[in-house]
Point group: C2
Chain length 229, copies 2
DNA sequence: TTATTTATTGTATTTATTACACGAATCCAT
DNA sequence: ATGGATTCGTGTAATAAATACAATAAATAA
């Protein structure tokens, strides 16, 4: 087929599943659509890819426009391409997921979004297009990834307690973990830096605060280390 | 942006990394391009996605046209979307990989391929577009997947010896494995059926032939079993 | 002062991983 | 028919990792 016949008829977009974590709950950032189609419904943020824009840059742009954040963990997860997935034409969409620290920024709805809001993952509204399928796919990817890469820390503030990270793992994986064994395994990797500080103003024994040692992780990876929790 | 402005300017394609295994060597199926651009070079088989064709169907079509095979293991791996990856326009490509039993079929070059040929993975020619990047990505995906899903069997004939499957793992993972430990672990999963038959006409003690028990695997998966080698 | 809440820590048991070598079965060459 | 070449098939002991499990410590609130 002549490639020029194919042009003129199709387009591709990026949709972002932006995860956050707050108060023991995994959340996803949805926008309230201010543009057709499906105007007036909650949906995943996304946009058509610009012609002079790399695919990854497009995903970064969407995240930045919405949250003002850059330098955030982001990864492509899957491309969805059913013929009838978009009511206005043949549009395939490349799904990305991002992990952000909710605390770090303020939401900043854009031209195509009237409003943006965090929704608890266990109670999301019905979504248009194939966005429900995309969201489920992203949740499963996150479950897999969180066990093989230290990306859970991307969802927590820079300083966190061991209970914080355990609760996060329990939320994402939807299982319970043994406290002593979880800590033993995590600390055995020597990837946490003890800040020497403790929680303040909590109505119980304050917990130690740790930071994730990204530099050490990178150097261990070079040496063939593989993260697993 | 109005979606109709975006149409008229871009297209998307599928490229397939088709792996086979023969005589202890992992192979990849390349076509000799008979169409522009890059006419007269070895490349990954691929084609533009038809407007009335689901993305996955497009990947199946490419494989079928080239090999006559359907019902083959196939999975999407990544979408490549640099602005300048295609010299004739803005084309993003969705990469798939397939695992086929080389023995099962005869190659069947199509309109866009003058010739198709298996190339040993350790000695592939330079490839056009970003196909080298795609191939490397696929090799790494295969390494990961083969350890967590029983897809290695897709590359072997229906009946195989324990040495066959071990050699395959050693080729794919590029490591050596201990014979006794590998067998112990593999057999402990109880996913192999002993056919009761043996190799014939080999100049050494003949090995037992096994089959992979796909039904049992599926039922174990339901029960939360997870494959790992 | 006491009650409440969450943090911190170790050990014994079970399970999985690793390292390692020799007799058996077949074909081939003489 | 014998001996040589080749690959097959098998078990155990040592080490490492995963699991199950509960009491004391430190803070605030009442």
């Amino acid at each position: 087929m002549d490639i020029h016949k194919q042009f003129f008829k199709s387009a591709f977009s990026v949709d972002s599943v932006i995860f956050g974590y707050d108060q023991g709950d995994l959340k996803v950032l949805l926008i309230y659509r201010g543009a057709k189609p499906y105007i007036g419904t909650w949906a995943l943020p996304g946009d058509l890819v610009k012609l002079d824009e790399d695919l990854d840059d497009s995903a970064r742009r969407i995240l930045f426009d919405l949250t003002g954040l850059s330098n955030v963990f982001m990864d492509q997860i899957h491309t969805f391409g059913k013929v009838d997935r978009h009511p206005l034409g043949r549009v395939i969409t490349v799904a990305y997921f991002s992990l952000v620290k909710i605390i770090d920024y303020k939401l900043n709805p854009s031209s195509w979004a009237k409003e943006a809001k965090w929704h608890s993952i266990i109670n999301t509204p019905n979504l248009p297009f194939d966005h429900t399928e995309i969201l489920n796919y992203a949740k499963n990817k996150l479950k897999e990834r969180v066990r093989h890469q230290p990306i859970g820390f991307e969802l927590l503030p820079k300083e966190f307690t061991l209970s914080d990270i355990q609760n996060l793992y329990e939320s994402v994986l939807e299982i319970n973990l043994d406290k002593r064994n979880f800590r033993k395994k995590l600390l055995a990797m020597s990837l946490l830096i003890d800040t020497g500080y403790f929680q303040i103003s909590v109505a119980h024994r304050p917990a130690r605060l740790y930071r994730f040692d990204k530099k050490k992780y990178k150097s261990l990876i070079q040496q063939g280390f593989s993260f697993e929790l």
